[in-house]
């Protein structure tokens, strides 16, 4: 009933003559819609991009080199300082070692005095060079 009320055309003979109620385009049609791709072809070329990347990379590597030079100079300063004070420290340790070694030789003579044919004191290797005593002991109070 409502359809015929809404879509009524005066002078209708039957329902088959009702005008069609459709949703359609406005008169003249819609405006044309662009659906084609239009990726622009401007901007830097491949060579330009490559040169820019290469430039950034070489600038970075140059800065790395400069930084390495600075760090090497710092390390050189530290090592030069260590080299300068090495004799003082080694001389100190030598004095202490000589004292302890003399004490040890006396102890060895004391212990081995009854052993026949024991040349007390130095009886280390045969090469003639001096080697530090290989006791294998750890002295945590010194280290």
């Amino acid at each position: 009933m409502t359809e015929s009320v809404i879509r009524n055309k005066p002078g209708m003979a039957s329902v088959k003559d009702m005008p069609v109620l459709q949703d359609g385009p406005p008169p003249g049609g819609f405006a044309p819609v662009r659906y084609a791709r239009r990726i622009p072809n401007k901007g830097p070329s491949a060579m330009a991009i490559f040169l820019a990347a290469f430039g950034a990379f070489s600038y970075g590597m140059y800065q790395v080199g400069q930084g390495n030079k600075i760090r090497r100079a710092l390390k050189e300063e530290k090592f030069a300082a260590r080299r300068a004070i090495l004799p003082v420290l080694q001389a100190e340790e030598d004095e202490r070692f000589v004292k302890e070694w003399k004490k040890y030789l006396e102890y060895e003579a004391e212990v081995m005095k009854d052993v026949p044919g024991w040349k007390v004191g130095e009886n280390v290797y045969n090469s003639g060079k001096w080697m530090p005593p290989a006791t294998g002991e750890l002295r945590p109070e010194v280290w």
Binding site: A84, V88, Q90
Partner: protein, 106 residues
């Protein structure tokens, strides 16, 4: 621990003191140090190089005492900074400049 001299006025050769004065020691004690190293190279036996060692130590301690007498405050500042930062030269640049301005290396 960051004292340069002990109660009697003798310099204490701790690591911070020695590292702070290392550039001066390098210049002033070069002959003694080189003699000691040559002796060691010839024979690593400690008993053979005691003399050169004593000379090197005497020279270094003399340098420390001399620096302490000439510029006490910058040196104490520098040694204190080195003690705090465990002998890191890069972290004590300010005190190093002050010390080297007061007692220049020649």
């Amino acid at each position: 621990m960051a004292n340069v001299v002990d109660a009697a006025g003798e310099p204490i050769p701790t690591s911070s003191v020695l590292m702070s004065a290392a550039k001066h020691i390098e210049i002033k004690c070069m002959p003694e140090n080189v003699e000691f190293l040559k002796c060691k190279k010839k024979d690593p036996n400690p008993e053979k190089c005691l003399d050169q060692g004593r000379q090197a130590t005497r020279c270094a301690l003399g340098v420390l005492k001399d620096l302490y007498h000439r510029c006490k405050d910058p040196m104490e500042g520098y040694v204190g900074c080195m003690y705090y930062y465990t002998d890191e030269f890069d972290l004590c640049r300010k005190q190093q400049q002050a010390f080297e301005k007061a007692c220049p290396l020649e």
